[in-house]
């Protein structure tokens, strides 16, 4: 029984990390219609920026996390403004561009920081134990920050003027533009918000796990899985799906093993899609 609850705790902390990661991915798709292949790259970059800020500039960890968030957001802003903006309506072109960016980012990180994991630790250690259960304090803090960030994104999207404008653009770009919203100003902002979230996740999670140049691939694959399950472009769907994926991953890995567990997760998502083609919470999809 303890094992069962312990696994649930793992599932929750996985889910919170995945949710924060996938929110950015789904926002970019929902608002811009772009499948961002560089999303995993921004996750890794966030980790390395936080590491570099702490290691080379001696900034304390919480500030380093902020620096990484704004650094990745700035890069995302510039990339949207200078490269994606002109072709943002063409899904294939943007897919190729983000893919190219991803390859360049991972190469840059590999060349600058080397292939090995750097010394990047969470400043707090220690484990809370009780009744056969345990929870590392660092995981608890990361969980808290993740949840706070998710709430922040919700408030931003559903309670602020910027959020209203972004949602209007996601709903119907023509109508929104006709009513005076300016995609040219808002798109880079939306992109920056999303890449900033990926960077924040990277800066938070990589010191708890590990940091290496190639971690972008699994981060991207996880984001894919979650938005498929949750429904593309749906913020609520992505959050719920992230927790479902976290739970399924935890229970299937514990009871079936790592390799078979992963297979079970993928098959579950596939079945899910056949039963509900637009994801758990998806609306009618926007065409390719």
């Amino acid at each position: 029984m303890d094992g069962f609850i312990a696994t649930g705790l793992i599932g929750i902390s996985l889910g919170a990390q995945y949710a924060l990661l996938a929110l950015g991915f789904t926002l970019i798709f929902g608002i811009l219609g772009v499948i961002n292949f560089a999303h995993g790259g921004f996750y890794v970059l966030g980790g390395y920026l936080a590491y570099a800020a702490g290691h080379y500039l001696g900034i304390s960890y919480p500030l380093a996390v902020l620096a990484a968030t704004f650094g990745t957001a700035a890069l995302g802003y510039l990339f949207e403004l200078l490269v994606l903006e002109r072709v943002v309506d063409d899904q294939l072109t943007t897919l190729m561009l983000t893919l190219g960016l991803y390859l360049m980012m991972s190469t840059g990180i590999l060349v600058v920081f080397g292939p090995q994991a750097p010394d990047f630790k969470f400043p707090v250690s220690g484990v809370l134990r009780g009744g056969g259960l345990y929870m590392p304090i660092e995981n608890l803090i990361v969980l808290g920050v993740c949840l706070a960030a998710i709430v922040f994104v919700y408030l931003l999207v559903y309670r602020s003027g910027l959020g209203r404008a972004l949602r209007a653009l996601a709903e119907d770009r023509q109508v929104a533009a006709a009513q005076g919203l300016r995609p040219k100003l808002l798109f880079p902002l939306a992109f920056a918000l999303a890449t900033g979230l990926a960077g924040l996740t990277g800066a938070l999670v990589t010191p708890v796990l590990s940091l290496a140049p190639y971690l972008g691939d699994p981060a991207l694959a996880t984001s894919f899985l979650i938005v498929i399950l949750g429904g593309l472009g749906s913020v609520g769907g992505a959050t719920a799906a992230a927790f479902i994926v976290g739970m399924v991953e935890a229970y299937s890995a514990v009871y079936l093993g790592g390799s078979k567990g992963a297979l079970a997760l993928f098959v579950l998502v596939l079945i899910m899609l056949v039963v509900r083609p637009s994801g758990l919470f998806g609306r009618e999809s926007r065409g390719a």
Binding site: G3, A6, T7, I10, S13, L14, Q17, T107, L110, G114, P115, Q116, A117, P118, D119, K121, S125, V127, R129, Y134, P136, L209, S210, A212, P213, Y214, L215, D217, P218, A219, A221, E249, A250, Y251, S252, A253, V254, Y255, G257, G258, S259, G261, A262
Partner: protein
């Protein structure tokens, strides 16, 4: 358009072929490095390339290769094999077109699988490094192995570990591809030979959070956990998460070097607590001399991965064999010379050829190696072990 492109390829290739023709230039020996230089395993290839370039510089400085009395200039061409069979095959074909006959690498099992047919077709001598179960064999007489796989060293290390920690059961964890299964399954047999019951557990390559796997391991209640060939980054997280979960037993990693990185990710020796691992080279002052010499010759620090030293000794053996055979073209002659050379290295020491028992061919270089231990959070001096016999 495509026909133009094809003729362009042909002309470019023709160009390089002329440039590579040894008859037109002074004596030249080109060593081909086929190693993974990008992606997760990049550090293996970078260590290999560093070693090859260093030994080439060393040979040029000492003019150690002379063909018909003429000193031969040694150069290195390296191509990224991308950790795939296709990448390695393409790299080998590229080298064959440049007339390169001596290949150092590749490192990963899929790469070695991909390169072997090409090497056979083009009579290339390959000094490879892969822990695959079929890395070398009688059907590939020109393929050598730069150091033993787990079949060579797992047994001796397990004996030491059992003496120190006295475990009766072990659970082996590794990624679910060939880089994991071929090592963990050989390690398992070695544990069982020492009367330690062993089970294998595989995780999906690319897993970043191991908490669920750790819970599964804890449920199995093994005395010890062996991380086999899990990459150092993964191994580091697993050690950390095992200790957080309250695992008190010893943790091994019979898979390859990487102690520093594992300790860094896990959070230091206190977290490793009781830890043992395979160190491909026993690093003493003498071996450290290579690193200093590298600095003076190459004006840079040596690649961090310790496989670098092993590659230095293997590359030196190849260069010595070429010098002894007195040819830079006839790989069969060089292979013969290589087999007949005593296995020794000025820095690393005396070794032997092994492999007959496991692979059916005695083409595996075996040098003295090290066993690393952390006991109760204290790093112990590395144990020096004489060259494995593979028996």
């Amino acid at each position: 358009m495509s026909r133009v492109r094809l003729s362009m390829i042909l002309s470019v290739v023709a160009g390089t072929a002329v440039a590579a023709n040894p008859a037109l230039a002074d004596c030249q020996l080109k060593l081909g490095v086929v190693g993974v230089l990008s992606g997760p395993a990049a550090q293996w290839g970078i260590a290999l390339r560093g070693a090859a370039e260093y030994v080439a510089a060393e040979a040029n400085k000492g003019e150690s290769i002379k063909i018909d009395g003429q000193p031969c200039r040694v150069t290195v061409v390296s191509i990224d094999s991308k950790y795939t069979a296709e990448g390695a095959a393409a790299a080998a074909n590229n080298m064959a077109a440049q007339g390169i006959k001596f290949i150092l690498g590749p490192i990963g099992s899929p790469e070695l699988t991909g390169i072997k047919p090409i090497a056979v077709r083009n009579f290339m001598l390959v000094m490879s490094d892969s822990y695959a179960k079929d890395a070398i064999g009688q059907q590939w007489p020109l393929v050598f192995h730069q150091g033993p796989g787990p079949s060579g060293w797992a047994g001796p290390i397990i004996k030491f570990a059992k003496e120190k920690f006295g475990m009766k059961s072990v659970l082996l964890v590794a990624p679910n591809d060939q880089g994991g299964t071929d090592i963990a399954s050989v390690d398992r047999v070695a544990y069982e030979k020492n009367n330690i019951s062993a089970t294998e557990e595989y995780y999906q390559r690319g897993t970043t959070n191991f908490a669920p796997i750790i819970t599964r391991i804890m449920n199995a209640k093994p005395d010890a956990v062996d991380l086999a060939s899990s990459p150092p980054g993964d191994a580091g997280i697993m050690v950390k998460q095992l200790r957080q979960a309250g695992f008190e037993g010893p943790i091994g990693r019979l898979g390859g070097p990487g102690y520093e990185e594992i300790a860094r990710v896990a959070g230091g020796n206190e977290v490793l607590k009781d830890f043992y691992w395979y160190e491909p080279v026993f690093i003493d002052e003498n071996v450290q001399g290579i690193a200093e010499d590298y600095k003076t010759l190459m004006h840079a620090d040596r690649p961090e991965n310790n496989l670098f030293f092993q590659w230095v000794s293997a590359t030196r053996m190849v260069v010595k064999a070429i010098a002894k055979a007195g040819t830079v073209d006839d790989t069969k002659k060089v292979a013969e010379a290589l087999r007949s050379l005593p296995v020794e290295d000025p820095n690393i020491g005396q070794g032997r050829w092994i492999g007959q028992e496991f692979f059916g061919i005695n083409q595996e270089l075996s040098f003295p190696f090290g066993v690393g231990f952390v006991v109760k959070g204290q790093l112990q001096p590395t144990l020096r072990v004489e060259a494995a016999t593979g028996k």
